[in-house]
Structures are given as structure tokens and as C-alpha cells.
């Protein structure tokens, strides 16, 4: 039932492209612009990264499977580790499996809409790496990220999109 509801939302984005009948598994991909125009994602500063992480080829164009994946991970039922894993991928802008300082700077700028000065942004990034980097290599790996998430009690409720 949930899946049907998501399917109808997916279809609503582009009724002419998405067929009603999925039994023969058509390869239909919706472009990023349509996904990014959904009301749930429209004003989210990370919408592009979210679409890229869940899309098949990393370009933001999503099939129905990717769409379902995305909303299932972002739902309230997804376990914490899964959410942490995907959150890590979202914040990793250059896709190198580490959140390095440039990734962090981009994240902070997106969070504050460029209202902090570059020195402040740089200071914030340095302090974040200093705090969260456990193995001391100057970057955050997935394990560092998960270790930090454990200490944040409200991660589960903030990393959640209601649809």
C-alpha cells in the first residue's frame, strides 16, 4: 500500500513518461529536474546530493526502484545504521568515500546559505574534523561518521522526510 502510494507520487511527476503497468519492468527514468521539483525536496539544500546518491548512475535521474529506495531510507522505519550510511554518502560531495575538508565546507555553506564568512567556515570545518576524526587522517570516514551519529540522539528524527 505504501509502495503503491509512492508509485502514484512517482507517476504524478511525469504521467506521460511513466506507464501504469510495471509488470514488464520498463526502464523508465525521470530526470533530476522533475525529482527536484517535488514539494518535499524543493527547498532542501541537499536535494541534488540526495538525488545523486540514490540514482543508479549518480547523475540524479531516478528510476522507480531508486525512488522507492530513497523514500524508504528517508522514512521513519529505516534503521539508524542505514540512515547513517546514506547520510554519509550525501555529505560526501566528491564521492571519494571520505568527507574531507572541501566536502565539509560545501555542507556548511549549504546549511547556512553562505551567511558565514569564509574564515568562520574554515574554522568550523577544522573543528569538526578535529572532533570527529578518530583515526587521525584528516578526513572523516564512514566509521568516524557512524561513531559520531551514535552520540546524536535526534539524528533519526531529523534525517526523515515525510511523504
Amino acid at each position: 500500500k505504501e509502495i503503491l502510494r509512492l508509485f502514484y507520487r512517482y507517476r504524478d511527476l511525469a504521467p506521460q513518461l511513466v506507464p501504469l503497468d510495471y509488470s514488464d519492468k520498463p526502464a523508465v527514468t525521470l530526470p533530476y529536474e522533475l525529482i527536484g521539483s517535488m514539494p518535499e525536496l524543493k527547498d532542501n539544500p541537499f536535494r541534488q546530493r540526495i538525488a545523486e546518491v540514490f540514482s543508479e548512475h549518480g547523475d540524479g535521474n531516478m528510476t522507480l526502484d531508486d525512488f522507492l529506495d530513497m523514500f524508504s531510507v528517508l522514512s521513519e522505519m529505516a534503521p539508524r545504521d542505514l540512515k547513517a550510511y546514506y547520510a554519509f554518502k550525501i555529505y560526501d560531495f566528491n564521492n571519494d568515500d571520505y568527507i574531507c575538508k572541501s566536502d565539509l565546507e560545501k555542507t556548511v555553506n549549504k546549511l547556512t546559505r553562505n551567511e558565514l564568512t569564509p574564515e568562520e567556515v574554515s574554522l568550523v570545518c577544522e573543528k569538526v574534523i578535529y572532533e570527529a576524526d578518530v583515526d587521525n587522517d584528516g578526513k572523516l570516514s564512514l566509521a568516524d561518521f557512524q561513531h559520531m551519529i551514535v552520540r546524536a540522539p535526534d539524528f533519526l528524527s531529523t534525517f526523515h522526510i515525510r511523504i
Partner: protein
Amino acid sequence: MSQPPSITLHVPEGSESDGQEPSPDNERALHTSFHQLILEQSSLIEAGLELELQERSRESPARLATPDPCAMAWPEPGQGEDHPRYSPASLQILASMPSRTIGKNLGAIISQYCNRTARLRRRSSRPPLQQLCRTARPSLRQYDLETDPATATLEEKRSQLVKELLSFPPSQRSHMLLTMPLNLAEKRNLRRQVSGHRGPLRQHAHHWAPFSPCGWSKFCVILGCRGLWYRLLFLLRAAQPWHYALKQIGGRFGSSVLSYFLFLKTLLMLNFLSFFILLVFVVVLQAVYPPASVSPPPFTGLELLTGAGYFTHSLLYYGYYSNVTLNDPCSSSPKGSVCPLAAPPLPYNLPLAYLFSVGVSFLVTCILLVYSVSRSFRESVGSSAGDLAIKVFCTWDFKVIQRRSVKLQCENICTQLKELLVERRSRSRPQSRCQCLGHCVVMLLAWLLALGSVSGCVLAVHYIWEHVHMVQQEQQVQNSGRWQQEAILLVLPLVVSLLNALMPHLFNLLAMWEKQDSPVTQVYMATIRNLILKTMVLMLLCYQWLSRSVVCSTEECWETCVGQDLYRFMVMDFIFTLLDTLFGELIWRLILEKRLKTKRRPEFDVARNVLELIYGQTLTWLGILFAPLLPAVQMLKLLLLFYIKKTSLMRNCQSPSKPWQASRMSTMFITLLCFPSFLGAAAFLSYTIWSVRPSETCGPFRGLETIYESGKRWVLVLEKSNPNITWFAWVYQHLLEDTSLLFCMSVILIAVIYFNVQVVRGRQRVICLLQEQIVNEGEDKAFLIQKLNSVWKQRRRRF
């Protein structure tokens, strides 16, 4: 934590750009090269060439030419060490390491989860040391080196994972599948394989369906319950009052100002609970069965200020409440006759109810306060490290979709980050001895001044009270008008509230003159002095009320008199808070803008306002016994205060220029609420119940020695009526009245606290050790990779 710490490396950034992306197709090629290198390395060691290699690796790095153009030296972020040049084979290996391929390599994910499930199945975090090979590295001892996942193909890995999954019970299986970060197609494939082994293929399109009927229904129930719980939580959150207003305040002014409003909300909840308990058990019943009382004087507006007159013989005060059992048929029958044995229609012992509901409301408040204090201690102590990282990654609420709310959130996060930065940046620089001494002298002077002014205020209050009492006696002799009589009652509350409003400003000025190192210390100093002032004044007032030497000595019903006094204090406090907001914020802003022509606006002084709230709440708690409806008055006051303060804040104030950490301040506030304020009120109440003689003519405890005696009498009555429950009376006598039990309990409590503190300390030490171990592992790995690289180069040069 059965997982070994995953280790990362000082690896050059562009290692992926060597052109050979590890894709699932190339896996076999990559891993065989690793395998080959291991063989090479082991054969080299056997040949005893290690020494030779060590000599060779000490040569200058320039001679170790790498022909591959893409093995360049990439700059290390912030490290200045000589960057080693990795050969393409080493880079391929590095690129295919499990910790690096998590996001990309399907096979790596599958093998990682295979290992995890295997370890879960074995249910042992560590095999016993005797069974392990001594030469294995510590972090590798847990691995089953025979089943090296590096040599398997994707299909083999999948089948291994399926095999592992099959060994689990169905519900756990589906849970494991849920937690795997694979995409939908992969999961569907796996599930199909797993269920295909068991029986006919299920044509179910549902994601989370397990594989047996009764497990399915149980799962459905659990899922339904969880859904219901989440929906309830969401409703609770949505139904919270002032949710948007608080977000707005937090977004514009930061969490320090927000903590004031949150504290106000907490107080409102506490008052609501007390009020509810008293309402249900005492007030409503007395209202339904009103006692025969004198006709009240006509209502004039002044009653709202003085609480006397019309309100004297009303539900508001202690004097109204009857001391009989309500609705008791025996009381209506004539004296001397036998009480009918028919079942009474629920007689209600009002004095007992009064005593117990006051006690229960205090107990509930105590439990809630202690719980909030412990929770905020935990949050403020534990969250100081790692705060910034959590703020950056976990505070963005993805649920927020409205444009305005998104903008608010951005502002909020921006302000919070700035706050944290400012706090981290302000570290005290070491001072010279002379400066230190000067600083000490200044501090001493400031404290002397503060304490002197506090004692001056207390003496002033005492003398004014005696003077008012004399004037009152004169008035009674002269039989002057009601207006004058009631107006004189307002003088003392006026004076006390005036002092409470003016002195904190003086203390703030004093703290600014002292020039402390950080704004936090400044605030703490001013707050402590303010607190001392309020505590002293309240203690004097309590002493006067209980001794009845000055006030209410002429009254017959002294409890009502004390209740009225407290009501007047509360109303005056409210009026002065309003005046303070008006003058301190609105008019000050107008002066700054129009006269002095500066762009600066007044700032919202959080600590002073919070102390005013605590003072008001203390008055309420002191007065609960004497005026059961006082919590309702306090609730009304808090509601009005919220809206007035919020409006004034939005119009007149600016964001704090020196933002500081709010969580520690809110811990301090709630601790202040609990310890001096609540404990003081509880002590006052206990003393009143245990030792003070209630008045003879009014109230539910008239004619008794102490209020507590009603409880004792009830226990005796119980004992007499039903001999089976003498144990209850015995328990009551020995537990509640015996002080040695309390002593034992406090000793046990202290021991438990000490034990917990030691456990926490031990755990922190373990965490430090583990962190060191992780860093060491990282260095080990770097060393090994370098060694491998050098070996490979030697091999290449030789052939």
C-alpha cells in the same frame, strides 16, 4: 562492539584517477594481484632478503623512479611529510581495500555483511587467545583467514551471504536485509534466493514481508504498533504549544534566549500538574459541597490586587475548606443515635485529601525536577565534545519543507554555529601575578559591596514590615476606610518587588566593572548575587510568616492571611516584571534610537529574567498549602508573561552580541529551580505541617495540634476499624516517622552515586585507550603499505 575499528590512511586523493576504477568485473584481477604480492613478499622473506630491502629503501626517494605518470605526489592536507610515491599496483590495491570500496564495490559490501552475519552467528566477539596464531596481527586475529573473501567472485560472495542468511531465523533475516545498504534490485535478488531455498517463490510485492504466516502476523502487529507510536509522537510534537513561536525565537535570537522561554514552558507544565492534582482532589469537591460561610463583601476591583475582601472566604484560600468528611450520612443523623449501617454514598475525608494532595503534588514535582536535572546534566556534560560535528551533520531537519521555515532553520543553524565558535575561541590568556592580584582585590571588593547591599535590603524589608504593622494597628484603632486598610497591605510587596527589580541591574553593573575573563563567568557572578538577595529576602519573609510575630498576629485565620500575602507578592511581582519589560526594553530602545541615535538595541538579559521566574515559582510553592488555587494564578501569570515577553523581544531587542552556550545555562537554571527553590519550599512546607499549630476557627485542620496529626489519627482509625492491617500502621510508624531509615537511605544513595561516577570514569579511560589503538592501527597500515610498495619497486627494478 564486535567490529574491529576500521582504519583509514593518508592516501593521495587522486588514487581513483589511475584509470582503473574497481568495478565488479575487475574484481578478480585486482584481488589476484594482491594475492600475488603476498606470495612474493612471503617468498622474499623466506629468501632472507629483507635486510637488503631495508638497506635499499634507505636510499634517496629520487632514485626510486616510478615510470607511471599518474603516480604523482599529491599534497597531503595539512601534513607536511614527504609523500611517498605509490606504484600503480599498490594504488590498485589501496583502491580495492574494504574500507575504501564500501560505497562503490558491490562485492565488498556483500562480503562485509557476510562477515558480519558470520560473526553474529558465532556469537563470540573474540575467540580465546590460546587458539590464535601468535604471529597474526592483533586486529586480524578475529578474522577467519581461511575464508579470505578477497579471492571470491561476486557470485560466490552472494551465495555465501545467502548461506549465512539462511542460518538465521526468518524475522532476524528480514531485519538483516533491511539494514544492508544495498539497492532495491540487489535486495530483491537476495530475498528471492533466500526464500527460493525454503519453498515456493512468494509473489509478494511487499518490502518487509517475512517468510512464515505466524511470523508475518507478529511482524504486522509490531509494525502497526511502531507506526502508531511514531504517529503519536508526531501528534504530541505537533500539539505542543508555541512550537512555531519557539522556533521563531530560536532562529532569530539563538538558543540562549530560547532557553528562557523553554524554562517558562517547563514551569507552566509543573504548575499545571500541581494545579490538576489539587483541583481534582480538593477544590472541585469543596466547590460541590460548600460549607456554610458568611456572606462575602461586595466585589471591587481592588481584590485582584490584594486578594482580600471578596476573595477571603472563597476557594482561593485555606480558610474556606471544611474540616469534616463530606457527604457523610452519619453527620446528618441526630447526635447520639446509631449511624445507619447502609453503605455510605462515598464519604470524602477532606482534611486528609487536602494534606495528601499537597504532599502528592510536591512529590510529583520533586520527581520531575530531579529527572530534568539529571537529564540536563547528562546532556550538558556529555555533549561538550563533538558538539560542533553533531550540529553540522545532525541538526538539519529534512522534514521542513516550507520556504520560510527552511530560511528560519538556516538562520538557526548559522546562529548556533557562531555561538559555538565564539565559545571555543574565547580562552583566557595567562595573566601575570600582578594582574592576578589586582583581579582578586577587585573581586573581593565587588563581593563585599554585593553582600553589603543584600544585607541592607533585608534590614530595610524588616523595618518596613514592622512599620506597616504599626500603621495597621493604628488604622484598626481608628477604624479607617476599607480602601486605606487594603492599600497599606500592598506597601510591603511593592517594596520587595522594587528591590528585586532594581538590585539585579546594580549587580550587572558590578559584574561589568569587575571585567571577568569570559561573559559566562560574568553572568554566573551576577546570577549568584541576585540569587543570594532573593534567597535572603524570602527567608526573612518565611520566618515572619511562621512566627506570626509581625504579620497576621491579629488575624484569627492566619493561614488565610499568609495566603493573601503570598498572593499579593505574586501579583506585585507580575506587575513589576511588566514595568521592567516596559522600561528596560521598550523605553530604553526608544532612548537609544531617538536620543543617543545609536543603532544598538537593548539585549535580553536571560539570567535575570530566569531568576525572576524562579522567584515567582518559589512563591507559588510556598503558598500551595495556604492557597490551593495559587498554581492557577501562576499559570495565568506565566501565559501572559510568555506573550508579553515574546512581543517585546521581537520588537525591541537585538540578538545577543556575546552568544554563549545555552545548554550549560539551562542546566544551571533547572538546578537552581530544584535545589534552593524547591527544596526551600519543601522544607518550609514540612516545617509547617509538622510543627506549626493550625488556627482554631478556620480551615480543614482546625482544632488539631499540628496538621500532621490528621494523618496520624487516620492511621489509628484504620488500625481500630480493621485489625488485619495493623502491619500498615506499623509500617507507617516505623518508616515514615523514624529518622534512622532516612539516614540509611541517604547513605545508600551516596554509595550508588559514587559507584556510578567510578564506572563513568573507567569507561572514559577505556575510550581513550581505544582511540589510541585506532591511531596506532592507522600508522601500522601506513607502514605496511609503504613496505609493500618498496618491495614491489625492488622487484621491478631487479627484473
